[in-house]
Symmetry: D3
Subunit: 222 residues, 6 copies
Amino acid sequence: MAKTAQKHRDPDHRRAAAAAPPKPVPAVPSNAAAHDDTDITALDLPPAPLTPEMEAYFAKCEEKLGFVPNVLKTYGFDMAKLAAFVAMYNDLMLAPSNLGKLEREMIAVAVSSHNRCYYCLVAHGAAVRQLSGDPVLGELMVMNYRAAPLSPRHRAMLDFAVKLTAEPWTVEDADRARLRAAGFSDRDIWDISAVAAFFNMTNRVASATDMRPNTAYHAQAR
Amino acid sequence: MAKTAQKHRDPDHRRAAAAAPPKPVPAVPSNAAAHDDTDITALDLPPAPLTPEMEAYFAKCEEKLGFVPNVLKTYGFDMAKLAAFVAMYNDLMLAPSNLGKLEREMIAVAVSSHNRCYYCLVAHGAAVRQLSGDPVLGELMVMNYRAAPLSPRHRAMLDFAVKLTAEPWTVEDADRARLRAAGFSDRDIWDISAVAAFFNMTNRVASATDMRPNTAYHAQAR
Amino acid sequence: MAKTAQKHRDPDHRRAAAAAPPKPVPAVPSNAAAHDDTDITALDLPPAPLTPEMEAYFAKCEEKLGFVPNVLKTYGFDMAKLAAFVAMYNDLMLAPSNLGKLEREMIAVAVSSHNRCYYCLVAHGAAVRQLSGDPVLGELMVMNYRAAPLSPRHRAMLDFAVKLTAEPWTVEDADRARLRAAGFSDRDIWDISAVAAFFNMTNRVASATDMRPNTAYHAQAR
Amino acid sequence: MAKTAQKHRDPDHRRAAAAAPPKPVPAVPSNAAAHDDTDITALDLPPAPLTPEMEAYFAKCEEKLGFVPNVLKTYGFDMAKLAAFVAMYNDLMLAPSNLGKLEREMIAVAVSSHNRCYYCLVAHGAAVRQLSGDPVLGELMVMNYRAAPLSPRHRAMLDFAVKLTAEPWTVEDADRARLRAAGFSDRDIWDISAVAAFFNMTNRVASATDMRPNTAYHAQAR
Amino acid sequence: MAKTAQKHRDPDHRRAAAAAPPKPVPAVPSNAAAHDDTDITALDLPPAPLTPEMEAYFAKCEEKLGFVPNVLKTYGFDMAKLAAFVAMYNDLMLAPSNLGKLEREMIAVAVSSHNRCYYCLVAHGAAVRQLSGDPVLGELMVMNYRAAPLSPRHRAMLDFAVKLTAEPWTVEDADRARLRAAGFSDRDIWDISAVAAFFNMTNRVASATDMRPNTAYHAQAR
Amino acid sequence: MAKTAQKHRDPDHRRAAAAAPPKPVPAVPSNAAAHDDTDITALDLPPAPLTPEMEAYFAKCEEKLGFVPNVLKTYGFDMAKLAAFVAMYNDLMLAPSNLGKLEREMIAVAVSSHNRCYYCLVAHGAAVRQLSGDPVLGELMVMNYRAAPLSPRHRAMLDFAVKLTAEPWTVEDADRARLRAAGFSDRDIWDISAVAAFFNMTNRVASATDMRPNTAYHAQAR
């Protein structure tokens, strides 16, 4: 994170601006994402040197996506933390599972919508649009999955994920039974739960640090 | 609303589909908005003949937007209700005010985000993108206005609108004082309140009827 | 709104009084509604000249009710806003509908009770007392509609209206199905929804402005 | 509780009525309190013989109020429970305290409003009207104490009582400090807390048993 | 409460400590309960002389438990209040009932867990451990009763008690019917309700006064 | 998970038991944790062969703790998932940080208390008792951290962690500023956030699977 970017986030600076007399016709923010690619969190954590493994991984991201997701750069201040995050993320979202990749992304977005996490909604909303080839499905996951015309399987899956997000202490046998009735195996229940739980973690890391999504996501697969 | 569309919404029909054995690799919904332009609510309310005034208004919509917003078609089963809705909407969102049109749309979306209203988030999210020329600002209003880099004026405006949405019974002198401190006049406070209150109405009409947004909104001003 | 009244609302004035040493036996407020007929909101919005149409309407109110409801005086700073409000209100609450006028007022009060809106509970609680000839029914709607001995029809109607008020994002086909099972048509569902939604608007306008009910309501139909 | 009354409450009976085809123009409940003086709870707990002490107390109620409050009749199935309730109630609400009787009743109603307890709102709302000589103050406590023009002392008192009701786990030194700053002694803090806590008990006994208030309360001190 | 103890609670004192520069390796609190047996509430309410009856009762506590529960010492500033509390407590928790003493303590803890009441969780958690001879059952009631392997009877009992705690305004015939279906009589429903309601009172007295549990409870029946 | 254990969890089995006539004096559960060491989740996920690395890790657990924590056995159905979990857990809870190990465990328990997660409260409550040498501190973290006599540093740390747990969407600059004012560096803020976020994940994995804590934890460090 460059110094200038850090200054931009300085709350005192903002407050000083606030003290100026408000104008009758207020300026519209011209580019709300102006700093999102350079000033990626509210914490000043200088990047550590990348390990060869992570250097290769970042290069692969650049090649495949055209950029390194900001969440990886954020974890990049500490190679052990970055490696642990990447390992868990890739296992959950990409490893073999009866849940398709799109289904896992749908869970990611429905959970992030409950938690109103800007970073994850942008990044994984784009993934839903891309994997489904259906931009509107991405919007529905972001806005209210209950408004989407879902199969009973997908509705049960997201109902479980969102209940687990909102009131985990009330999840019980009856909830697992509903998943089984919708055709999910015990392993599938694990995968739904683990993905929902993981985004409950990352949503909070993102909110705690004001993590900004790469601007490239916004226009993807519209 | 055509008969076929109505059938599509039949919950028994959906449930019958659910009883089929779930497939290991489940079909992805290929077009979540497939019926949104033809099957615009869950209620079967046949359109009334348009009054000349409303016919002219619908024509103006077609000309300016390229389509008649589904909310107007929804109210179109009763000309008195349609006229009352149009009069109030146009006064609130378009009549002279110290609040700019973009500001009013920002309130609309922040309120609709709290209420997770699919119709209003789609339609007014598009309006924020269009009026601001900043697609990301639209996303921020939809996802979490607190994550946006707002001026103190706009932050105070949206904080008031969302508090009024979430817990109207706790709004008091101190809340109005915060708006005044941010430079808003008493008339401005009225306008902020009236717009926020109006979308608390329309969000509920939309949710109560499962109102679907015109598909044209999704790609606008991305 | 007279100047004196405005002064009465001055929060600094109140705070000054607070700084005085508290008395061992504190004075009881002798008339909590002392200013409610003169100092009707917390906003200083001087009345506009009434249009002939509105002048006639206010005269009709005086004749029928003995007073002009404060909500109308509040909107009276702008004739376009007043006319739009009156048109929508009268259509919703008085136009032909399968819902009786009492039923619409019951919805108004149950919604306003959820939102703890002082103005609407006073004004529409009086309407329920008057239209039903049953003062206790008015109290029940204000306090907790679930404690009232309601017909299944009325219970379903109010359950829908209050759920739509509290968590509109969760209203779905199953909720509409419950209304249909209780004998309501699609048009009836619209009317229930529209009335509930409207009071979610007016509750917020009233709370945002600290709107005070005309004192005459309190003793009506007790 | 007479047998007929019990039958009246039979939920199966109600459900049978519900199965009948709903009528187009539904009957309005003509007297929502028709059974409130005879059918005072949903539990069938036959009265025990009154002890001489309680017989005298009931007689005193009849003399002073014109009736025995239904809460006392409810507890009347067990003399030990009745005596314990009466002792605690009378100490809290009537024994010497720096809090006036009206102040204690204001706490009772504000707490009962948060808990939406029909019995307590009716009975203690009447007490506020009577003790203050101000019917509107009673309405304000029932509907939303935040809308009442209260002294800083009374506002601090009710804010504490309602916070203690809504989220007792968050009450801390800072909350007690606010009461002290408003002029309350440690003993006063006890009294505020004890009264608020007591109504959190009685609200729940009343809701758990569907306790009905004596009809005489409704018209008192209007 | 000794003067020193009172000083210990002084928030200014704490704040002064806070102003000191934070140390890189912060001290761990060595004994979080250091003052719990001497400094039992945040209020300075000097003990009143015990009545002979209460003196005997305190002596019996010392004999049976080895100490006088701090809640009794707290009420000891006023003999009428202490006597009323003791009478109600003993009737509810010890008098004959179809509910066993352990069942009543399970309700006490499940309710106190919802309200996160430190005093009651410590004191009544110990009682559950002792009466059941099962330390883990005590932990389950404290942490989340839904995670305990309960009989349908006990689950229904605690579900009712916790719903009555969390949202008393929604308790209705259907909730009582569930208790009856689980084998509870109307008198049992009263007892469940009365115990749950009582702890909703004491939880709030304890939270309002920062009541500390006797340290002896912690190690009991582990 | 043995077959017998799985049978024990069978909900149909439980329901059959429920259908038996309820006994007047119901049996007390004699050992609520009877199956916790053998029947560790509600999912039937047979263990995979341990990798040499994980075999060594499990052996180290046995040696140090006397048992393998059930969470590790739970993840043991898939070596990639187990390895990713262990790597992240050990980095967060054991790697160098300005936050002491006890502080990280305090965050773990305060977060798990908000989420009422039985597994994590038992396992990490024991860790707080052990690391602090103060059994009561463990209880306080489980029951209500706000009732603990914490340093301003620790209070700020837990307030942030619990707010991030309860309402992550409201965490902003002002919250981070409070941590900085309490002496925390940006790296410390990361560590607090990452630990709090991680337990928001594990709490949900545990609740989703009904994960049972090893019985050995209960008696540790009492």
